[in-house]
Symmetry: D2
Subunit: 390 residues, 4 copies
């Protein structure tokens, strides 16, 4: 018999919901090669079907993020109904200003007002989509920057970014939010226009209350203490959302928890410490991953299970004893309390959690045993498989 | 005949003044060994004498930063007069909360209010010194943090830091400023309480107008685009001061410009772009270095010359042509204009600059040819050489 | 008047020849977007025409590396003649085992002997091409590895790699060589089968005398001292070739010398120190770059000029004085001698070097002033632009 | 009830023995501060007493590494008897060529033959100590290098290193070995003379069979896949020993397993895969750590427990199933088998392991409950506490 959670911690765990990205079900790869796989969705409807399967087996993934224009459809109301029929809802809308030839040297930061206009309009269109889908968040990842020193006027770009964001922010209505993602490097190599949480924070702080920071766990320099940033953004009231994934070196977009599960544990411990799983919290927990060589649906199942497992272990931390050890300066006692939670096997408790909800004890195994993969491989023949281009 | 600067650029260059740190003249080293050297100062008076020699030969280093308690003297007015008699003035006051046994687990962030009180009082005492020395800036480098996950409550520490800083800030008078330095790691290894510019910015923004960020060029993660941060802090009006040095891997504290002179050029280019050398600028340019294996006075001379040289080269950038190339998206033309300035040998112009001021053409050579080193080696016998402990 | 080179150093500089990669003239990009540009070659013949233009204007790029199958043609003798007619020759043959679906989990290291066989055969075919083109080197970049811990048996793969390489090596004839490139990460993220120079060295040392290491300047961990590896491989007699490029963070494949020109200077200084530009040297100097956002032909011109310029500056090092300073332990004198060479403007000397050879004083300007780009944009209409897929 | 080990895996686990370093019981710190603590040993006898306490409570640490001259005593036979009486033996002898003023610019690599002679003689003296203590290994960590480009002739130093090592190696007798440690950086910042495993390997391969590589887990560039190097050195028959510790950024020397326990698990999995825990293995497993802010004896207890725990979890890997998944290219199945072992709580099994041997179930708790710490704090009054200087 393994460890168990207190009733209070169970409630906290029950609040954990992880949004999955539509693009994780399409093909992805590196600049060297994108492998295609049988059964890959050809359109947003099929992506949502796959996402719904993840939720059906895990009970953890009730919503799906969309990427515009990759997931553009004639009728978003129809897509919304499709999702709801499958038991999930449409979530964050992600804009895309990195694939049009016009954006080679920038979009929201471009020197040319016509191109900025186009990029702003794209975001306004995304908000139209949000109105139709009922999405709460417009997520902006700024893929802009430069490759060579001197190529760009970084200062002017920052000012233009502020202007562009202000116009987009002004269009939001009701509960809608703007979340601004930062990224250390790639696809630009010398500078990116929003490289760190400080820049994202300074930009969204200038916009207003409903502008927040998105923290992608793969978008930091080597050695960065990510849970510190989680703590700081929670403290500043500006942590809007997570993009979860793992990395060994760059923005590898691997399965969250696969490279350093202890880091994920520490991140979730800091989320809990900062109230990020309390009822009042508005943080959106999302995956942003690429399954280049592994089965995509299974990859997503594994990912949401990993987040749940590390959250459950983080909930095991004996906070009273930990605080006492911290106050007394007993380094090893504090560290032991912390690691004991991480080392404790909580998997049987999570099986019970699933059993209570009529979910399979082992979702990975259940998927493998099901006919789903065979079925989509047989059905999804012809057409163009979804990838980052479509 | 080498390149020459325009009259306007000469005026800008004339404004460059680099503060030298008193502790650079004392012994320093690694955790493995501190080498002592003949002629090392034994007290603040001798440190200032060495610093004055750097200024006498270069015309670039008119002020000296002090470190309390390392540079504590009975009578700061006397020290001030001593400095002024040697042609320099006393500059930034650096506090020290990392060498008292009480601070093992924190100072301004400590769980124990008595220790926080002690640390705050130390800073108030530093401001008393500023009153006596006429210093503008109180520089706070927070050496606090933790070595093990769980050891510390990062969130609580951040809040306590804010409280402590507020009390210190309230004590400042007139033109006095508080500058808060950030550092990625060391001496704490798991987390530092002010690890990045974002944290420093968030903390000083909460204090008020006369609280600023100090950017130490060696305190970033590998691969960080430092000139971007320079740009951003200038844009936000919060770049208080620089701590210049070089690093290959960690916080090596090597001679500025010795590891990557092109990076120093880019930093100075961004300083100029952002108005950091205009008459209205209040940025303080300082060195913070350790001369572990090289002659210390020569190391300081080389450092201020490197900063001047890279500033002069950065002033050579043809801004009109660069802007045109940037706007037109001509990546290679822009990069070429930028690198041409870096590649241009400006040393004869700087020799002329020195000749005009009655300074030696080659300050390094002039120092070697002088009797200064021999003299201090002969005179400074007995006593305890200054180091980080005294 | 700038600095000049001694007659001996001029001879050394004359020996510098830089091979350009055919693929640099095709389209490239990131996983997010490949921008296409007017005038891009559609086949190996057009790539070679562009490469020849680089050599015509710079006198520095007499050979072109090919990539199989990207540059596969019916008749390599015809391609060879085409090249020779344009004043260049065919150089290194690069194999490709990262774009076939069979190689998803490895090629020379694959668990399945049939796939290993296919990968070995591909290399034997490359040697057939070498026989036809007269190429000296077969360059193997191993894009193999794994994304997740546990995914692969690293030890077994290493053994299979040794077997595969032995079979390929045995097929070489005459002066032909095998050069094995190492790469820290990408496209695999958890482990790559040849991640560091040590692995490449151990593998080629087991093969024999004509197996060497290829050092790509962008394939190292952050903070790596690359010139140390250059020194070590020269000392061990195993430095076969360079792949030059620049990087700020990952394998950015930017223009060599654009990110850290001082590093390029140090690398060339170590090449000279180790005899790498002596007449007996067999080192092959190559570019391996991607011009994602800049003009490709100009990007190549700038690159070979950068290598020549840093080599010329490295030749200015006063070796006698440097050795003396090193022996005497005068750190700052040694560093000053070293940096003086780097800081010295050698560009007028290089203009003279070009004038002597009937080359344009400013090859970048000459290309811009020429009709070449307009002509290829007009002529190369229709067909499929070359990229990494073709 | 937790997981259990098979009888075969228990035998493997039984073979795990971890050597502790004498210097871990002395004071250590950063360049900023060394905190002293009550009860710190004043001489090698007291250090060994503390080490013996670790072994007494854990059954895992039967030997103690010495550092010369820090642990120099008049009579090593007496020290040996002292150790044996306490139930431990003397292990690896570590030389020290980084604290004498003569070694400022090198020791085994120095330009000056007299200083090289002195450094070689120091190592010969260390072998004399080995003769007296019965130690198997002479461990050489080369703290040599340079801080500034140009300061040193890296190539000449490498050759001199080879000569120096050859002379030392020739003095070894019987089963004695030389193990050469590599380190990425520190205390030298620009270059270290043995920065990577490739250099260490090339140097020891030139010496002979009884020269091996020492892998310190904290001595790599960020992002390095350490278990790959473990695999490679085992494959090449040159993995002599481990120096275990943890790091977040630099060579932090934290408790092994505290920063990334999953990495330690992967390292031990590769050790097992490569036969490093088989009866024939000669690998020496050692700690090399600094307990700057935590209790030192408890820090050592925690460390050996961490190594045992991650070894036990690594032994849980279902190798048959894993190999099957690897061969079939089932990425997620392979990863799941691998991570399942890591996620499985083996602590009750290890408690049983201790119970069988009459060891306390919880060694940390047992130490805290014992009088040992109080006793040494009371007894060890006066004298000079051991640190890196003595």
């Amino acid at each position: 018999m393994g460890a168990t959670l207190s009733p209070e911690n169970r409630e906290t765990l029950n609040r954990l919901a992880i949004e999955v990205p539509s693009w994780a079900y399409g093909n992805s790869g590196t600049r060297f090669k994108v492998y295609s796989t049988a059964g890959t969705p050809r359109d947003p409807f099929e992506k949502i079907a796959d996402a719904a399967e993840v939720h059906r087996l895990t009970g953890l993934a009730p919503s799906v993020a969309l990427h515009i224009p990759w997931d553009k459809v004639e009728d978003f109301a129809e897509l919304r109904t499709h999702a709801e029929n499958l038991g999930v809802r449409l979530g964050t809308i992600n804009s895309n200003t990195f694939q049009d030839d016009d954006y080679k040297f920038g979009a929201l930061t471009h020197e040319d007002p016509k191109i900025r206009r186009k990029a702003i309009d794209h975001h306004l269109e995304c908000i139209d989509v949000m109105d139709a889908t009922g999405s709460q968040d417009l997520k902006i990842w700024l893929a802009e920057g430069s490759n060579y020193p001197g190529q760009a006027d970084m200062r002017g770009r920052q000012d233009r970014l502020a202007d562009s964001l202000a116009e987009i922010y002004a269009r939001l209505t009701g509960e809608q939010r703007l979340v601004l993602e930062y990224k250390f490097f790639e696809p630009a190599f010398y500078h990116t226009d929003v490289p760190d949480w400080g820049t994202s924070y300074a930009q969204v702080a200038a916009l207003g209350e409903r502008a927040m920071v998105c923290l992608d766990t793969g978008h930091h320099a080597p050695g960065t203490n990510i849970e510190f940033i989680v703590m700081q953004l929670l403290r500043l009231g500006k942590l809007g959302s997570f993009d979860f994934n793992s990395r060994f070196y760059a923005d590898d977009d691997l399965i969250v928890g696969s490279a350093d599960p202890y880091q994920l544990f520490r991140i979730m411990a800091e989320v809990i410490r900062g109230g990020g799983l309390e009822e009042s919290s508005t943080i959106s927990f999302m995956l942003d991953q690429c399954h280049n060589v592994e089965n995509k649906i299974q990859g997503q199942i594994r990912s949401v299970l990993n987040v749940q497992e590390m959250t459950a272990r983080a909930l095991l931390i004996d906070r009273v004893a930990l605080t006492e050890a911290q106050i007394s300066g007993d380094v090893l006692a504090a560290n032991e309390i912390f690691m004991n939670a991480f080392y404790t096997d909580i998997r049987s408790e999570l099986e019970a959690w699933r059993a209570e909800r009529g979910l399979p004890a082992d979702p990975m195994q259940a998927f493998r045993a099901s006919d789903y993969q065979n079925r989509i491989e047989a059905e999804r023949v012809g057409g163009v498989q979804a990838g980052w281009g479509a």
